[in-house]
Symmetry: C2
Subunit: 368 residues, 2 copies
Amino acid sequence: MKFDLLKTSPKSAARRGRLHTAHGVIETPIFMPVGTVGSVKAIRPDLLKTELNAQIILGNTFHLYLRPGHKQIEQLGGLHKFMNWPGPILTDSGGFQVFSLAALRKMSEDGVTFKSPIDGSTHHITPEYSTQIQHSLDATITMAFDECTPYPATHEVARTSMELSMRWAARSRAAFIAREGYGQFGIQQGSLYEDLRRESTKKLTDIGFEGYAIGGLAVGEPSDQLHEAIPMAASMLPEDKPRYLMGVGYPSDIIKAVMAGVDMFDCVLPTRNARNGTVFTCEGTIKIGNAAHKLADIPLDPKCTCHTCKTYSRAYLHHLHKEDEILGHMLLTHHNLHFYLQLTQTLRDAIESDTLEQVAKQLLESYR
Amino acid sequence: MKFDLLKTSPKSAARRGRLHTAHGVIETPIFMPVGTVGSVKAIRPDLLKTELNAQIILGNTFHLYLRPGHKQIEQLGGLHKFMNWPGPILTDSGGFQVFSLAALRKMSEDGVTFKSPIDGSTHHITPEYSTQIQHSLDATITMAFDECTPYPATHEVARTSMELSMRWAARSRAAFIAREGYGQFGIQQGSLYEDLRRESTKKLTDIGFEGYAIGGLAVGEPSDQLHEAIPMAASMLPEDKPRYLMGVGYPSDIIKAVMAGVDMFDCVLPTRNARNGTVFTCEGTIKIGNAAHKLADIPLDPKCTCHTCKTYSRAYLHHLHKEDEILGHMLLTHHNLHFYLQLTQTLRDAIESDTLEQVAKQLLESYR
């Protein structure tokens, strides 16, 4: 899995890159829509490609393992074929969701034992097993199995957690079956502590991965701490490999993280917020259910070129939202994903034309 | 609104027609997808046209009157513009839904008073008001306001109800504002009684409408009575105007009704059943949630050419159904609507090529 660093920004750490995979080329920086259970909610995968130009999507190993099961997906030809998304797919390791189960799980050096929230059955996931599951799913990019250190964490807790994750990273790597155009990313941990992030990075690069993720951020820390931590964490990672900031975030977070040198993002915000009626626009977010939109014969976003904005009024989308019509979820999802994908396109263009600082400043001001 | 009778079937009462409207041409026989509240559930209206070749859709006056309100839709340019469906729209009169309210409504010679199921507010709908509402919605085809006679009904009850509906039909017609390419349909009533249906037809044709509907069928009577009543009711209607059988039905019902000389159909079955996981195929209906489909790497319908069947396995659709994913509703809706629209296309072709009897026999046998 080859990564070309095409250009670096003269006044920031931002990078314009290109990742070559078995399932296609990814232009970075890029946002990855989340397809939790083998479906990016409320949008057809063919239109995700043809109308929104999505380049890579994310699948959730934990959910797909529980239902329909990775062995079933393997038997049916892998996740790409199963869900009709021939492009690249990144799967998380399942760790984050397992740890979210709280009372339902138990951790050991070996791995995590948990009860299925679906049927109460007991499961045991190890770094090796997580890696095998992702192999069965045919993930283009496999993530190492790690513990997402909760926030806040003392230095000691953060160290213990990070060191376990690094031992698991080595085991994940040993279990990874290399294939042309496929890759595995290691995940940097260490909470907000620079020395721990540095140690984590050293351990990961000693193992060697095709890319590196920043884990354990956007887990509850205040925004200013998040935006101090991102450049600190990103700047340590190897220059010649893609850098992925997991689970982030709002459009403004993505802009700042791109300027800190991050290449890849995923977040449920555009899709989940669409289903709640919260819409991202160039002038900030709007709640389509607000009475102000009841008679508004204008598009969601005056500058947007997506199918929803070219075709429908806020009044119609307000009506669909009030009626809880599926079409409302579809059209708002379409717009919000377009907004995120267009944002990364704009940032890529700005890096190429050396205008990132001005573009970022304008965008950040307009979102207020 | 001009109706061309292009061809009649030599061995049945089936007809191949063409209805010219202000919003486009409708080739008959035709199925009309139902867009209750200004949205055919779970499908984008542009794809309804480009991928499914829908020619006309139905809107529900009662629902749109309550939310968002016909005046609002008028202010926003009419239902076509509001929902991005530039093609023909037929609106029902609201009568059927009002009468479904049972305890919440009260009927008089003047009209129906009812309490809104949304907020309990009181409303009074008359034939004149229903016609005005449909005008505000910019309906291509307006339906006369009538009482759908419940089943079973004694001859006396059916007569009283039919006669009221006919007085209302005259008032609906008087309130109708004629415009080029727009039309209004009268609705034949009379329960299962031939003499009443004949009287009703006489009264309607004396008034004169651009088309005639068969009302009060498929309201609970056994299937054999329905299929005795359809040819009886259809055969009385004028030859030179389109005939619309309201709210019918299963694919086999539509085939039989086409052979009885019906031109237009609407029904919520394809869309509602899709959301319940019930799928129409050339071999009969299947329940996609059944365990038998869990590993089935075959399309829903082996003979179907729709996007869903060309692209997805039953196994994937089973998975989406189990997860209650919106995409599952979208893909099954797409298939079921394609099935109904393709059925009427097949019947149109068969009438043209004088093969309707053989085609109908084959289809009816394969659905068993």
